[in-house]
Symmetry: C2
Subunit: 135 residues, 2 copies
Amino acid sequence: MFIRVDSSNGVPVYEQIVRQVKFAIADGVVAAGDLLPSVRELARELAINPNTVARAYRDLQSQELVELASGIGLSVRGGAKRECQTQRRQLLQARVGQVLEEAFRSGLDAAAVRRLVDAELTRLEKQFMGNGNHE
Amino acid sequence: MFIRVDSSNGVPVYEQIVRQVKFAIADGVVAAGDLLPSVRELARELAINPNTVARAYRDLQSQELVELASGIGLSVRGGAKRECQTQRRQLLQARVGQVLEEAFRSGLDAAAVRRLVDAELTRLEKQFMGNGNHE
DNA sequence: ACTACCGTACTAGTGCGATAGTACACATTT
DNA sequence: AAATGTGTACTATCGCACTAGTACGGTAGT
């Protein structure tokens, strides 16, 4: 699967899994009715403990994004895609707000912030040129 | 002092202290030669353990931003202000880059990102209207 | 000298994320 | 019926950030 975790960045691994599964749902990489990779399979793939994956899946289930197909696995629920897209958009907006607020606190004014954003934007445009992203 | 910590956001408290002391130095709130608040005083103020503050101060000392005035306290070193300003600028630029990259990955194009940034920017401008910040 | 304050060092205990191993109920496949 | 694979539950253990309390050497004020 498309999931990658980094155990050294402070963010709990199970949260990283939850986040990336949500992104996969939002992107349509897994559609409604599709099964998530099994707990043991994903654990083997990521070289982590099955309990950690199970913890992430439990969270996804309690958020009603995914439902138990008993004996089969966990399947993506109907409204999950739109919900994940909404959550992703809200998360992004919040992070943009945080960073801009930090920029203000650093003494930059709106014009300086705009310059900084534009500089990073053109840098990233070169990097992402001509591909439909979704690593 | 001007420091505020949040023990429930995952970031170690001592790192929050290091970060905010650096910001205070960058902003000139504490100038070269000034003493930092004592370990015990800051610990009492933040309602945390003195060891946690001591840990933060040890980091600042090993980064040569602050030096031991034996028996007196820790004083801000000469080049610290410029160094902290540089670090803060680099940190900010990196965070802007991260967020914009995440925006690209969410499927937004450069124009959409610019719209999102502008929206947050005008929202924050209202909030910060007519004050020299530094909460 | 005495007291008070400074940073530092040390040990012990707590909370939480993660690991490790086992057991269980369920469904599919053979 | 048996084997395999699914998610789940449970206990034990480990590491790390943090708390808690104490002790020590250095400096200033009296």
